[in-house]
Every structure is written in structure tokens, then in C-alpha cells.
């Protein structure tokens, strides 16, 4: 009995290292320890990604049938189906973000949010600025409703998003993925994403320390007004060979 308990504890302890690798596993473990000490402490590890918006449709016509996509504005009933906290959704609209919903027979399948100039990160203090805003967007909170996962939900939402962005001559979409979200990383790799940089934030109450592979590289922030700003250049970033290259099929 005691041996089994020890074995389970060992498996739990080494689980993150097996899943994320040595460095990310250690960061994950450190984050868990900090959060137990105080909910106001933690470590955020992000990968900044860029994906070209290709001309190829992601779904064949028969599977895209009955799919529609439309902007979801303030007060739309679909807003209440989104799991983000109400104040977060209000803050997103306040910063000019657009929410694109994808529907099948008028029923919401999933959605994605986009910012066209800058995106103010809502987990940590950080601003992502699009250097070429007429060609690029920043997408975040890409969400598929649970009943539509493991079907065509993921591709249906990306299909709608690509159509929407292509119609606006957008060529690149940037995003940040949490390093510990393995499922999301795997799914996005299929869409041809490239990792263009990494950022780590250590948060303790009001204080945040940022280390990144992109300028400004190191940043110490102690108030809402001091935020590091990442300038995201699509062509320059696509030319870099940093991180893994996704498999575009």
C-alpha cells in the first residue's frame, strides 16, 4: 500500500518532465510550488507563434456546408457561452478586439478573438504590437465548445477564421501559446505555425520579471503602466528558423 502510494507520488513528480521536457518541466513544477505558496505568485511560459494565412481552404465544400461565421459583438447571446470571466470579455472589447464566431445551422461551434494593432495580454503585463497591422493580426482565446471537439470543430473554426482574415488581406496571424498546453501546440503544429520567440514571466504580487528571446529580452515591471512591448514583424519572423516548423497538410 505504502509502496503504491510512493510510486504514485513519484509518477506525479516526474509527469511534467516526461510531458514537457527537462526545462519546461522544471518551470512547471516551480510554478505549481509557487501557486501553492500564494495564488498571487506564478510562472508563465509562452511561445510566440506566427501562422501564414494560406489561400487553401481547410475544409472541403461538403464539410463546410452549413457553416457560417460572423463577428460576435457586445451583448450577443453567444458571449455568455464563453468561459472567460465577464470583466475579461469587457476589457477585450474595450481594447478593440473582435470576436469571430463560427456557427453550424446558427449554433455556435467555437470562436477566436483578434486584435488588429496591438494586444494587451491579460494574464501578465505585456503588449504585443503588430509591426505591419494591415497584413497581420494577433489571435487569442481560440475556443471550441466541448460538444464539437474531436469532430471537425477545430478545423471549422480555423476555416472560418482564414476566410474572414483573407477577405481583409491579412497574411499572418500571431499568437501566444502556453508552453504547458501540449494539446494546443500539437494541434497548431498541423496548421503550419512557427515558433518565433519565447517569453517567461515570473509574477509575485505586483512585481513581474520577464525574460524573452525577443526584444526587450529582459523587463522588470512593478505597476500597470510599465509593460514590455514585443514588436512583431511577420516577414522577419517567418524568415527566422527558430523553433519547430509545423506540418502543413
Amino acid at each position: 500500500m505504502q509502496f503504491e502510494s510512493l510510486q504514485n507520488s513519484w509518477q506525479r513528480a516526474i509527469g511534467p518532465f516526461k510531458e514537457f521536457g527537462a526545462i519546461a518541466g522544471a518551470l512547471y513544477a516551480a510554478d505549481q510550488v509557487l501557486r501553492r505558496l500564494s495564488p498571487r505568485m506564478g510562472i508563465y511560459v509562452y511561445e510566440l507563434m506566427v501562422q501564414p494565412i494560406g489561400g487553401k481552404k481547410l475544409l472541403p465544400a461538403n464539410l463546410a456546408k452549413n457553416l457560417t461565421f460572423a463577428e460576435i459583438g457586445r451583448g450577443h447571446p453567444a458571449i455568455d457561452l464563453m468561459p472567460a470571466r465577464p470583466e475579461i470579455k469587457i476589457a477585450r472589447f474595450d481594447q478593440g478586439a473582435i470576436c469571430l464566431g463560427v456557427f453550424r445551422r446558427e449554433k455556435l461551434i467555437g470562436y477566436a478573438w483578434f486584435c488588429f494593432n496591438t494586444y494587451e495580454e491579460d494574464e501578465v503585463r505585456c503588449t504585443y504590437a503588430l509591426a505591419v497591422p494591415d497584413q497581420s493580426v494577433f489571435d487569442f482565446d481560440f475556443y471550441i465548445l466541448p460538444e464539437h471537439r474531436m469532430g471537425i470543430g477545430f478545423l471549422a473554426v480555423w476555416h472560418g477564421a482564414n476566410e474572414y482574415l483573407r477577405a481583409r488581406d491579412i497574411r499572418y496571424t500571431f499568437s501566444r501559446l502556453t508552453r504547458f498546453n501540449v494539446a494546443s501546440r500539437r494541434a497548431h503544429a498541423h496548421l503550419g505555425w512557427k515558433c518565433v520567440g519565447k517569453a517567461l514571466f515570473f509574477q509575485a504580487w505586483r512585481v513581474e520579471l520577464m525574460l524573452a528571446t525577443l526584444a526587450p529580452f529582459i523587463f522588470f515591471s512593478w505597476s500597470e503602466k510599465s509593460r514590455p512591448r514585443f514588436q512583431l514583424w511577420p516577414d522577419k519572423l517567418l524568415a527566422q528558423d527558430v523553433g519547430q516548423v509545423g506540418d502543413m497538410r
Partner: protein
């Protein structure tokens, strides 16, 4: 193993590199052989290979996560196309 199952099994092996046994009644998502993207690739392959057209609504987990249910859906489509 029927022809459809064998073809689909070979496709999964080629696409995912999975070399173990595949039970047609096994939930391939649950056991980690397929993910949300590869399962759609598999159904697209099935469409082309067996000349059937699925509806988006049909591509839900209970129809496509097991080879046996996917083959049943293919046959249902083929027979409705014949009539």
C-alpha cells in the same frame, strides 16, 4: 478484417507512425493514436478513397473515433448513394 478497415488501418499507420495493433472497436482518440486533427485527415482520406461525401454534422466522435463506426458510416453513405 474487411477491406475498408484494412485500408484505414494502413492509412493510420502511415500517417501517425503507430506500429501496434489497432482494434476496430477501440476508441482511437482515447488511446492516443489519433488527435482532433488526424481524425479529420482520416475522414477526408475515407471520403476520397471510398467516394462518399460526409456531412459536417456526421463527423462527431461517436461516428469517427472507432474504425468500426467509421466503416459503418461509409457503408451507410455508399448504400444511400446507390439507392
Amino acid at each position: 478484417m474487411n477491406d475498408e478497415t484494412e485500408l484505414l488501418t494502413n492509412y493510420i499507420r502511415t500517417e501517425t507512425g503507430y506500429a501496434g495493433d489497432i482494434d476496430p472497436d477501440e476508441d482511437l482518440i482515447e488511446v492516443g493514436i489519433l488527435d482532433s486533427f488526424s481524425i479529420v485527415s482520416l475522414t477526408m482520406f475515407a471520403q476520397e478513397q471510398f467516394r462518399v461525401e460526409f456531412e459536417g454534422e456526421e463527423l462527431v466522435r461517436e461516428n469517427i473515433a472507432k474504425l468500426s463506426t467509421l466503416v459503418a458510416l461509409i457503408r451507410q453513405k455508399q448504400s444511400s448513394a446507390d439507392t
